[in-house]
């Protein structure tokens, strides 16, 4: 759906300063563009649970971080998300790759649990699943920033 240069251009326009990242099959191809960007700094973490408090530290230090991970990482990092978004009440934004979302016949449990888990966390979400959704990332990001709330863009794996 989005190429590396396109995501870098979009995030740069949004004023994102740091991308905290565990790659997945959807965002992995963006690596070289994210790494080469002069406007963004790519920070690689070993485990998704590190990404939320690391982003919290960047935010408290005056930066505009974005967390980027797959749904499996979202599941894994639930307690860190809970703490940073709800205890500390920090309005952090994330881009989450949703595995197998386009494949409606998939028995992938990561696909099955994606929406119920996101609903349970009460995250304000926007789907990026069709070519018409491309503009939604910027629109949703700004809406969450204006409302000072956390939000997540959900990038459907396999989206055209």
């Amino acid at each position: 759906m989005l190429t590396g240069p396109e995501i870098v251009a979009t995030l740069s326009e949004l004023g994102v300063t740091h991308v905290i990242w565990v790659p997945d099959s959807v965002t992995g191809p963006w690596e070289s563009a994210l790494d080469a960007s002069e406007n963004l700094r790519l920070i690689r973490v070993c485990r998704e649970g590190e990404a939320w408090p690391l982003s919290a530290g960047l935010y408290l230090g005056g930066k505009s971080p974005l967390v980027m991970m797959q749904t499996t990482g979202l599941f894994e990092s639930g307690d860190a998300l809970r703490n940073v978004l709800f205890d500390l009440r920090l309005p952090l934004y994330s881009l989450v790759g949703v595995r197998n979302w386009i494949n409606s016949g998939s028995k992938d449990t990561a696909r099955h649990f994606a929406e119920p888990i996101l609903k349970a966390w009460g995250l304000d979400c926007a789907w990026l699943a069709t070519p018409e959704d491309r503009s939604k990332l910027a629109e949703h990001y700004w809406r969450c920033r204006r409302a000072n709330i956390p939000g997540a863009a959900l990038l459907a794996e396999g989206a055209p």
Binding site: I43, E50, P53, G57, G61, K63, D87
Partner: protein, 194 residues
């Protein structure tokens, strides 16, 4: 259980507080978040509680990256570090030269009542940090050694890893409440704006 030389944890933190510069950010967590506020109160001391276990080091790393002109110290317990050992690799990979990690190693999960960690007595934390890529590590197990060596250890090339073998916290400190998080966030923001 083998006996070992340890530093009284309150004394260990008192020595660290004496060596912190006025503009340094200090992140405490778990037990240290209850002890440090009884020793010193200022906006740049962030007591990360409630927290996510293992989150203090990444949070401190984020502050260090965002604020390259400041030194950041993270005080972590060994139980918290064990929850996220990979964070040592993340710190070294991010090359945050203005970050110091001070590990309080007491071998137990203190705030839940003192149960043993899986690692008690078997893990070389400084060795782990060196293997992860930390350019400097220091190990202290006696108060006098820590008192005389703290300044030099905190001046080593960063990111730095300091392991202090400490005893359990006195009960009166563990009962001490951490300042409310909203109050702390406002104080940190104001202190960083100065």
């Amino acid at each position: 259980m083998t006996s070992r030389s340890t530093i009284p944890v309150v004394d260990a933190l008192r020595v660290l507080a004496e060596h912190c510069a006025a503009d340094q950010v200090v992140v405490t967590n778990q037990g240290s978040a209850r002890i440090w506020p009884k020793l010193r109160r200022r906006g740049l001391d962030f007591h990360y509680n409630p927290s996510t276990m293992g989150g203090a080091i990444p949070l401190g790393l984020g502050l260090a990256i965002a604020l390259p002109q400041r030194e950041v110290i993270v005080v972590s317990g060994d139980g918290s570090l064990l929850m996220s050992l990979g964070s040592l690799v993340t710190v070294a990979g991010a090359m945050a030269t203005n970050l110091s990690i001070v590990l309080l190693d007491n071998g137990i999960y203190e705030v839940t009542g003192g149960q043993r960690t899986p690692a008690k007595g078997t893990v070389d934390y400084c060795g782990l940090a060196r293997a992860a890529g930390f350019p400097s590590t220091s190990n202290f197990a006696q108060l006098e050694q820590w008192q005389t060596g703290a300044a030099a250890a905190l001046r080593e090339p960063g990111p730095r890893f300091l392991r202090l073998a400490v005893g359990p916290a006195p009960e009166e400190y563990l009962q001490f409440p951490t300042p409310p998080i909203a109050e702390q966030l406002a104080a940190l923001h104001a202190a960083l704006e100065k």
